[in-house]
Subunit: 449 residues, 2 copies
């Protein structure tokens, strides 16, 4: 009996375990009042033990990390995932209880099923089936499963730094790949960095009657004057020195990007817009997303925003911006660029608040672990995997890449691009879930070669 048959023969049991996992509302943004969150960590450790690993709960300043080891051999693989989930709100948009997994039309709906519980458990189940089929694992597999990814992994960096030897490996299998709109598996070899800032402007000490609108300092206009120096009237980023920090993409990165088919129409339809920003399209849009930083406005607020009209000059205004960064652009120096850019133009009065920083990280697209990932997909008879030098999003992969010096990729997917991560009605295709178990088991086999 091969491993695919084993998975098919155990679907009910495998799904039963997943449902158990999904029923635990491990929302990291909430207080763990009755210990339910910690129970979830213990449940994961238990599953790892059942699969044959030695698991332990390791404390941090926040929620605990589940760590496990299994197998022995010349090479070592580190698997990263997280057992916490996003809050389910807004609840009224869910078609079924977010913490009561429900099957509809071949899809499994629950908070966390795509991000990241499905992935976490599929890897553990793959390990168990692999050992049942082939005996002891001929390489060392380490699991690092944290409980704070959805609140920005505030304790991951100190944990990784304190446990560098424990975590050392030849490669890291990160969480979070998915299948694209055409059903093709995607392999991501990097993540963008991020500098998340809030710019704050102040006017008078209180809202003023707008009869003074011509002479009173208006903090919204002030912010706009500052923002217009950050993007020009064509929407191009004009932040001093940002481009100079960026590393040139490698030839191999560019070739990989050229092989990706970017489906503008699918995006336009799913977003219900007529055009992308600045009229971008096709490979230009793709290169923009993967090779260029952003200066996104995620939120802005000032003054009166209720119904109808209120005539005031607001007292203060703020804008929240995330700058997604490419290789070479670390959040610390970028924050300094933002500050000096504004200072140089006379905007010393605008406060720049550092809310969050993430380093960019990249693994070469021709690394051995990327080849393993591609070949595993070939073994499964799936269409050719699409290799992305980076993803448009960010994550703390630089902890592995830069601090631990290991190639780090995302491959294997319970999710698809429509899985509604962080949104109501998060779901995965059941078939994709079982395929992922087979994928990870096969990946372990190939990794040992």
């Amino acid at each position: 009996m091969d491993l695919g048959e084993r998975v098919d023969g155990s679907r009910e049991e495998l799904l039963g375990e997943l449902n158990e996992f999904l029923r635990m509302p491990s929302i990291s943004a909430r207080e763990d009042e009755n210990g339910g969150f910690r129970n979830c960590a213990q449940w994961v450790a238990g599953k790892l033990e059942e699969a044959g690993a030695e698991a332990s709960i390791m404390e941090t300043e926040g929620h605990p990390v589940v760590y496990a080891e299994v197998g022995s051999g010349e090479s070592t693989l580190l698997s990263y995932g997280h057992y916490d989930v996003q809050p389910p709100e807004p609840l009224d948009l869910w078609e079924s209880d977010p913490f009561e997994p429900t099957i509809r039309d071949g899809g499994l709906y629950a908070r966390g099923v795509a991000d990241d519980k499905g992935d976490v458990l599929a890897r553990i189940q793959a390990l168990r089936l692999h050992i049942e089929e082939h005996g002891p694992l001929p390489f060392k597999l380490k699991f690092l499963i944290e409980g704070e990814e959805e609140i920005g992994s505030p304790n991951l960096a100190p944990f990784v730094r304190s446990n560098a030897d424990l975590l050392s490996a030849d490669a890291c299998l990160w969480e979070g790949s998915m299948k694209n709109e055409a059903g093709r598996p995607m392999i991501f070899c990097g993540t963008k960095g991020m500098a998340y800032v809030e710019l704050r402007a102040r006017g008078a000490s209180h809202d003023l009657h707008s009869m003074y609108g011509g002479i009173a300092p208006n903090p919204v206009w002030r912010l706009i004057q500052a923002l217009r120096t950050i993007k020009d009237e064509n929407g191009e980023i004009t932040l001093d020195g940002l481009d100079a920090l960026a590393e040139e993409p490698s030839e191999k990165d560019l070739e990989a990007i050229d092989r990706i088919v970017f489906d503008d129409d699918a995006l336009l339809e799913s977003w219900d817009v007529e055009a992308l920003d600045r009229g971008l399209g096709g490979q230009d849009a793709l290169r923009e997303m993967l090779l260029r930083p952003t200066a996104n406005i995620a939120g802005i607020h000032s003054g009166y925003t209720g119904p109808g009209s209120k005539t005031i000059v607001p007292s203060e205004a703020f804008v929240k911006m995330d700058f997604r960064l490419v290789a070479g652009q670390s959040p610390g120096p970028v924050l300094e660029l933002i500050r000096s850019h504004l200072r140089k133009r006379g905007f010393e009065d605008i406060e720049v608040v550092d809310l969050h920083g993430v380093e960019p990280a990249k693994t070469p697209v021709d690394s051995p672990v990327v080849r393993t990932a591609i070949q595993t997909w070939q073994d499964l008879g799936e269409g050719e995997a699409v290799v992305y030098p980076t993803i448009g999003g960010s994550g703390p992969t630089s902890l592995m890449v830069a601090e631990l010096g290991m190639p780090t990729i995302m491959t294997g997917s319970v999710a698809n691009t429509g899985s509604r991560l962080h949104s109501p009605n998060e779901w995965v295709r059941l078939d994709d879930y079982f395929e992922a178990i087979g994928y990870f088991a096969r990946f372990f086999e190939r990794f040992a070669l």
Copy 2:
């Protein structure tokens, strides 16, 4: 006994009546669920009857108008005021209950005391004392006291048009003067117009993950691109055709403005700012406020505005703007200017919602009623009144000036420039309240001459 002594002798009674009035939370922006709002109108009508007038409640599509008449003679004066008040929020910034009038350090604190209940009642009390002192009023005095001023007087124009004969008069005493920082009374001979609009931009049909920040249409940036065509980087208004509409100020207006001493320092201190907008100061700031239109941003909102960071490309954004207009700039044509200005620059996608329009209006600074107002202040032994050709704020005075053809001014003041109209801890000096009663009584005497 002269009238000033009468006022002094009745302080307790006069103040008791005012407190009764202030305790009624006549917030026009709220539903009148238990009829409390209507009770307030009836209370005002009752006070007018007590003062000797014939009062009636006149219905409109919204809150009722209190109308009253008293006296007879060759000339007629119309007094305009309102019995509604602004909502008191934010409540936590009030040092005492906004609807429980409280005396602190010679000041009376309550919502509406400065705008406009103090003014309304001071005129009614002045009428009563005047009749007690001098007998029947030797001219016709009409009161128009509406209940919707704080929500933009939506039913005043139809009311005035339907009752043009009833309201006809030789002059109109509008609500809303005040004393300046130096304690000198101000007389206003005009109001600015206003075009209040909301500009709305749309992106994707739902908030997107900001990994798409480089290629997804961002409605905040879109608004900013539009707004940067409305003011240049120096903060000067660049709206096509706005200046061309403005009428040249008269020589007399300019002379009046030259006589006004503009106290920058007092404003800077009361606002707790280091400089006015664009470094304006002195007479330049005054001319800007009185003779130039504004393009004020009263509010803006989009996306995530809670604590910390959330990484989205928002789905929609809006900005609320009030354009204060000078003589010649009617809100209708200005709205068209805004629309065509944006259309011409490719911003057809930005929706321009017309929220409110007010016509500018002016009464010549050398009108007889202005002279009466100045002389009344001289009679009271106050410092010379400061005559403003217009105020920076707006109001529906054009209904009187343009539609009914009567000179309309603001004079007499329970308020001072620090009275926090529309803000928490609204207040007036008790002495100013009693002086205002004397002022209005004296104004009635002079008007009859």
